[in-house]
Amino acid sequence: MDVFTQLTLNGLTLGSVYALIALGYSLVYGILKLLNFAHGDVFMVGSFIGFGALQALGGSTDPVLPLWLLLIVITLAAMVGCAVLGVAIERFAYRPLRNAPRIAPLISALGVSFFLAYSVQLMFGAQQRDYDAFSLDEGALFFRGFDVGNVRIPLLRIVIILSAFVLMVLLWLLVTRTRIGKAMRATSYDREAAAMMGVDIDRVIVFAFVLGSALAGAAGVMFALRAPTSATIGFIAGLKGFTAAVIGGIGSIPGAMAGGLILGFAEAYTQGYLSTRWSDLYVFVILILFMLFRPQGLLGSADIKKV
């Protein structure tokens, strides 16, 4: 039972991060029908911005801010940085290819992904970067927490799960309750009709990139608080985020959340009960099975075009 609780906790933490990445894929895909391959690398850049911000604020051993404020500041820094990066990518790598055949922006996205990963490697080296969250406040994030049965739930995990949840609720409110959210939904539903109704499509597209990239930045910080980051984590993280988006139904916001959690649980339980050796393989197998048998995902609408 303790093992199960522990694994569920792992799954929930992993799943929250995956869900945040998946949301970025879904937001962009919903509006542009573009697979933003570079999204995983935006996530990676987010984790590096968070690292830079942490160092600028005195590092984890001697931070100038109290713990709570520190976490909020570095997350916000990563979110803002990634949002700017996302807009830049859209502006320079995708927008010029608007009227090109579909394959062109896909290839361009792939190129951006590699360019980002290796630029970061060029600037900051190939070695891993550790936030050293353990030193923050004498290990408060790891030692303090709640007990469920015999399992201690460390503060760090609660922070990650809660903040991911809060971000998702905020996103949900934004999309369903605001004017720009309405414009996004309209664009996603029928771009041309939305344009005719006076929706500024360019603005909606940029906004989708801002939102998606900011969420990826937050996810990057959450990921890096627990495990060291490096310039090449973007690929696998991006693929997992994408898988989560596909599971839930790409283009659907609740779908991305559900998909992220499902993937997180699947990964945690298979690692715990089967073996860690093939753990990345499970992700691909799930992805391919979904692609083949339910390409519209669990919550998506069946608009996969078959000619």
Partner: protein
């Protein structure tokens, strides 16, 4: 076409005479002369490479014969990938899977990996007592091609019905699964299939065998591995391999199948309406592309005398894609140029430039460490500023410039 009542119908194009004329016009003497010259120059490369390397300034940048083999193998794969991406317009991000499958076919059929068996068929330069499967590399190369074609059909049939961007992801998934499987395949239900991260080596070498070797007074080596001119023989074989690939690729492009691929690339809906069977045609593109990946993989494994999982990672797929994009989607000559240029940069060019920078400019910068970033940049820059590649294919250029009916990404005006 073969039905009699159709053959009797009068042909509107003026019959056979016109047809023959058109055929003769299709042969471009200048093009043939150029092709022949390049082929001859390529074959003679081992004889003049040393002179070139002595030339001041550029001499250090001339690749040796051994490096040329690797460049040629990559170019063969790029030309193969071009069939899938360039002709049929299917974005395949898992081409490395076929490369790996081909290499491991060679590793299984021409090494001591399966010690429990003992089988020799045309093996050269090794003792007949050696355990394991030892088929002649020539047979293995063909078998590897057939095997990867089968794999291509198996992967293609369920996935090719998905739309383009989903296809990219699924192929990417397969491209990642197969190397992972290879890395972890040293214990498949207790059976050592791939020897895990250590890879399988040694793999037998190709050769002409004792009969041919004796008959030509050892002009043709019994086994490449034991020949003094090992690299040269691999080089010549690689050139032949590339020529065959290019020939097949060009002939395929102009065939009924090839025209169907291009039709699908330009407008899938219209192609289907014209009676082109989409699934079958796409699967053929995928399978034939896979064939060349398998052949190249098996040959490369034999050249390296080993198959190592570290050689097969996702980046290779992108690297190959970059060759196709740089050269020109759908343009065979362009892809050859792209393949040779990037292959050169990958094998030794970037390292040479790095050394030069360090020696002459005192810069401590190793471009080879960032090669995939450089390829990524090349891809983006090409897509933005010259999407048809260095040597554009005429038809593809028109598609890009005039636009096609293919649904564009997010253009609001069409």
């Amino acid at each position: 076409m073969t039905e009699p009542h159709k053959a009797e119908q009068p042909r509107r194009d003026g019959g056979l005479g016109r047809d023959l004329n058109a055929r003769l016009q299709g042969i471009d003497p200048l093009g043939w002369a150029l092709t022949l010259t390049i082929a001859v120059l390529a074959f003679l490369y081992p004889f003049y490479v040393e002179f070139l390397q002595d030339v001041p300034l550029i001499g250090d940048f001339i690749p040796g014969v051994g490096s040329m083999v690797v460049m040629l193998v990559f170019t063969v794969m790029a030309v193969g990938l071009n069939i899938v991406v360039g002709y049929a317009g299917l974005l395949d991000l898992g081409y490395v899977a076929f490369y790996a499958a081909g290499a491991y076919m060679a590793a299984w059929l021409a090494s001591q990996q399966f010690e429990q068996w003992h089988f020799h068929l045309g093996s050269v330069g090794i003792s007949k007592e050696l355990s394991g499967l030892h088929l002649s590399i020539w047979i293995v190369v063909v078998l590897a091609g057939v095997f990867t074609t089968a794999v291509g059909i198996l992967i293609g049939l369920p996935t090719l019905r998905l739309r383009g961007d989903y296809l990219a992801i699924v192929t990417l998934g397969f491209g990642e699964i197969i190397p992972q499987f290879v890395r972890n395949g040293d214990n498949v239900f207790g059976f050592d299939l791939t020897h895990g991260t250590f890879g399988i080596s040694p793999i037998d070498s190709p050769g002409f065998g004792k009969t041919l070797s004796d008959a030509t007074n050892e002009l043709l080596p019994l086994s490449y591995q034991q020949s003094f001119d090992r690299a040269r023989w691999f080089f010549w074989t690689a050139v032949v391999l590339l020529l065959i690939t290019v020939f097949c690729s060009v002939r395929l492009r102009d065939s009924r199948l090839g025209r169907a691929w291009i039709a699908i690339r330009e407008d899938e809906t219209a192609a289907a309406a014209m009676g082109i069977p989409l699934m079958r045609t796409k699967t053929w593109a995928y399978a034939i592309g896979a064939f060349f990946g398998g052949v190249a993989g098996a040959f490369y494994a034999s050249f390296k005398a080993g198959a190592f999982p570290a050689d097969f990672y996702f980046n290779i797929s992108v690297f190959l894609l970059c060759m196709v994009i740089l050269g020109g989607l759908g343009s065979v000559w362009g892809v050859i140029v792209g393949g040779m240029v990037l292959g050169y940069l990958n094998v030794e060019g970037l390292a040479t430039i790095g050394t030069k920078l360090q020696q002459d400019a005192g810069l401590n910068f190793e471009p080879s460490k960032y090669q995939f970033g450089i390829y990524g940049l090349i891809i983006v820059v090409m897509m933005l500023f010259r999407p048809t590649g260095l040597i554009s294919e005429r038809r593809h250029k028109r598609e890009i410039e005039e636009g096609v009916q293919d649904e564009s990404l997010y253009g609001t005006s069409k």
